[in-house]
């Protein structure tokens, strides 16, 4: 995958940001590797891990389990780091993970206005829009407008709660379980859980979309 990207990059014009950055980053990698600061193979392993191992499929399994198992849901909302380690989805998770639950009364949305803090272990690397100026600027002031950009409209009686990730605590939204999913397996439920529904800029898919 990496090499196919590399190959594509050669077709961009010289002087574009892409080729300039490719050269700059390669120069930096070469210097630091020659200095012996890391095993060059570790760089390949890191890229592969972020491209293939971590991602929103992890968070989706956690949400599906919370929808299926009331005791796990309770434990997740009390101490998400502790609950997630014991649930069989991942072997290890860092401290300070916090799950916040959507209800008919309250819709939660996660942002980092100061940089790009995001629950990597649950969702993988953040999408570009999450790190972008429009999202970081508006989420705390006009979350309804942000939701409209995502095509999401909430019921009139649902209040919005925005969580600004200004410290090392990391938030994940536990969305509401869609109707018409009674008796579904955790695997089938997980297919409803989108990345954006765990950030709070989206809602889970409806039952008919995966049934």
């Amino acid at each position: 995958m990496v090499h196919s990207h590399d190959h594509d990059d050669h077709h961009h014009e010289h002087g574009s940001e892409l080729s300039e950055m490719q050269l700059r980053v390669r120069a930096l990698e070469t210097v630091l590797a020659e200095k012996g600061y890391f095993d060059p193979a570790a760089i390949d392993a890191l890229v592969e891990a972020y491209e293939t191992k971590v991602g929103p499929h992890i968070g989706a399994k956690v949400v599906a389990k919370a929808w299926s198992d009331p005791a796990f849901r309770k434990a997740l909302l009390e101490d998400a780091s502790k609950a997630v380690i014991g649930c069989g989805v991942v072997n290890r998770v860092g401290d300070h993970l916090i799950a916040v639950e959507n209800t008919p009364q309250q819709h939660n949305m996660i942002v980092c206005t100061l940089c790009s803090c995001y629950p990597w272990e649950m969702l993988g690397l953040p999408p570009v829009w999450y790190k972008s100026a429009p999202y970081r600027a508006r989420a705390v002031k006009d979350p309804h407008g942000v939701l409209a950009d995502f095509g999401v409209t909430l019921p009139k009686d649902t209040a919005i709660r925005v969580w600004d990730s200004t410290a090392e605590t990391r938030f994940i939204v536990l969305p509401m379980r869609p109707s018409g999913t009674e008796g579904w397996s955790e695997d089938k439920l997980a297919a409803l859980v989108t990345r954006d529904s765990m950030i709070g800029t989206g809602l889970p898919k409806q039952a008919k979309e995966v049934a």
């Binding site: 980053v25 210097v31 919005i160 600004d164």
Partner: protein, 230 residues
């Protein structure tokens, strides 16, 4: 610092633009850049707070016009030169011209799975927490020239302590090399109107994660005089 990175509440950036089926990286160099930053962080030569400060110190025009991973690349170039890990001449040449420093740790491919788990920033508490759940607090109106995690939009505002999150490494001192100086961390909840005025959507609530030095107790003048003259 009151930098361009502190974006909460700014207008004029336009719509959020979600990208359908977004790839993890948009070019191979982005993945290499992320990995290089992780690998150098693993050596222990700098903290996450120092690296955040490194992004915030990029000139505002560069900050706004550079892609996310370009900012990471510029920051890493700056940090390795500042810390003497490589010379500017070497970065320019794209090859080491002198031997490297000896660092605490060196990342191997076998260790990579362990680096995917976040570290802990919790520390034992040097003193009891000053605030409890339900306390009304005011955020301090501070404008340090150095790194802070109290966003501008939430300075000098009244909120309520919603949760205690334990005692954590304090970014404001770590970032300037003054040590971990652990501080209690709270979730502080604000009414939307307190932050943005009366035109704000009713019922909007916003919280920040605030370290204890960012907060002062909200003392209502009448209560103060009563407590002095019981």
């Amino acid at each position: 610092m009151d930098g361009i990175h502190d974006m909460g509440g700014m207008d004029g950036f336009g719509k959020v633009e979600p990208e359908p089926n977004e790839p993890v990286f948009h070019a191979a160099w982005e993945g290499r850049c992320l990995a290089l930053n992780r690998a150098m962080g693993y050596t222990g030569i700098w903290t996450i707070d120092e690296t955040r400060a490194g992004i915030e110190e990029l000139p505002p025009d560069i900050y706004l016009t550079s892609s996310y991973y370009k900012k990471w690349a510029l920051r890493l170039e700056n940090l390795v030169v500042e810390r003497g890990l490589a010379g500017a001449d070497e970065v320019k040449a794209g090859h080491a011209l002198r031997p490297g420093q000896s660092l605490k740790r060196k990342l191997s491919a076998a260790d990579v799975p362990n680096t995917l788990t976040r570290g802990s920033y919790g520390r034992s508490a040097p003193a009891p927490a000053r605030f409890k759940i339900g306390d009304r607090v005011r955020t301090r109106n501070i404008h340090p020239q150095t790194h802070t995690r109290l966003p501008r939009y939430a300075r000098g505002r009244t909120g309520v302590i919603e949760a205690l999150r334990g005692c954590h490494v304090y970014p404001d001192t770590v970032a300037v090399g003054h040590g971990e100086n652990p501080q209690w961390l709270y979730t502080v909840l604000f009414d939307g109107r307190e932050l943005w005025g009366d035109d704000t959507a009713p019922a909007l609530k916003i919280s920040i994660e605030a370290f204890e030095p960012y907060l002062e107790p909200l003392v209502i003048p009448a209560e103060r005089s009563e407590s002095r003259n019981p």
